[in-house]
Symmetry: C2
Subunit: 220 residues, 2 copies
DNA sequence: CTTGACGACGTACGTTGTACGTCTCAATAT
DNA sequence: ATATTGAGACGTACAACGTACGTCGTCAAG
């Protein structure tokens, strides 16, 4: 009986994937080494045979997520492909709300480096001047991360304040900020609560891309 | 002797300001309650007579930083004032590298709410349509936070890897990413290390503002 | 002179990451 | 067949953290 119950030994991929699932489902705060080990049916110290420490584990998790980002088709025009890639990145990052924060605090692994390479190559092929291509890379990267981090951070705050009713936080904020003192802020928040405004993600992305092209053609 | 050494009692402002100084000088990781108490010449639990918990302390610290943001002059044209405010925000946030991350994870206090109000009012007075003003607010906020968080995160990573030589991290990264596989990434990094490219912060900010104005006039 | 409030602090607890050493077992070498 | 080795799971233990609780001294109001 005892020999029949041999589990398969742990391995790095299993640990990393379990980490991603745990962070996705219960938030990054629930990702403790003990918790993770429990979920896998092992004890804490078993994990350390497969990852050096938590920091490394997080880095590996990030790189797995980076692999999930869809590539634009090869035959797409560079600027359209940039646009498409930016949207894919946002999609993937939004599916793993714990990622955007950590993204900026870890060195890129192979998959994320490949992702940067792709975006940089597209800019190189876009016809923009080298300096504008350089700035474009940063502008788009910043746009993707910034917008996503903000979205995700907001909803994380709301659900951590009251998991049952994410709206509760907004109403509590409204109760504490008088409309006579902060009329525009209150109005803005109401726009979010009542009418639902579409995301300006793609709109602003296009402002950036159009701005790059426009400046490029006007100085060439 | 003992009665002559009476210290002034602690108060909330002292705690909050000491927290800011500590986070500024030694990083947010060094901001532990014990550390903070030590710096003030008190013991840990004394702090809890003045702040409810660490979370609240961080929130108070953030709002003090929000107060530091310079307002644009009242007579400045709305769009110019928005631009000016965005630059002031970046300046202040950069002076407190621990802020951008936390900024998105805490509800705004009074000062930050006032800051939002200001930006929203400027957009309201800008002549943009209400929906574009709404999007403009998010676009600019995102730009400010995103760009700053990225700057600050990078340098934080570099200095935490090797406080003596922040460049070391870049060279280590280069050593691990072959130029044959990642030519554009390597070239991009070299642009940062050799030529020093000016920040694209204002350039992209203008892309956004110009994009808003252009779209507004073309659909009005 | 008493009383009551307030602020500082000692003690203690639960939670976290992880260093270190031990034990088991299968694969390999003799 | 026996001895050796190495990998992997795990128990124990520790330091650092946030913070709950209770105690004590001091000072102002009754």
């Amino acid at each position: 009986m005892s020999s029949a119950e041999q589990r398969a030994p742990l391995n790095r991929d299993a640990v990393v994937n379990a980490g991603i699932r745990l962070a996705d489902s219960h938030g990054v705060d629930a990702l403790t080494m003990r918790n993770l080990a429990d979920g896998l049916g092992f004890k804490v110290m078993a994990l350390y045979n497969h990852v050096a420490n938590k920091q490394q584990l997080l880095g590996l998790m990030l790189d797995v997520v980076a692999e999930e980002i869809d590539d634009p088709p090869d035959d797409m025009a560079p600027l359209a492909a940039i646009r498409s890639l930016a949207i894919s990145m946002r999609t993937t990052l939004t599916e793993h709300p714990w990622v955007p924060d950590l993204w900026l605090q870890h060195m890129p692994g192979p998959a994320r480096t490949a992702n940067m390479e792709r975006l940089l190559r597209l800019f190189d092929e876009s016809g923009l001047s080298p300096v504008l291509a350089h700035h474009g890379f940063h502008a788009v990267t910043n746009h993707v991360i910034g917008y996503t981090i903000q979205d995700v951070g907001m909803t994380a705050m709301a659900t951590s304040a009251d998991p049952d009713d994410p709206m509760a936080l907004a109403y509590e904020f409204l109760a504490n900020t008088p409309a006579e003192v902060y009329p525009h802020t209150v109005a803005h928040l109401h726009q979010h609560l009542n009418e639902d405004v579409p995301s300006s993600y793609e709109l602003v992305l296009d402002f950036i891309l159009d701005g790059l092209v426009r400046l490029n053609t006007s100085t060439t």
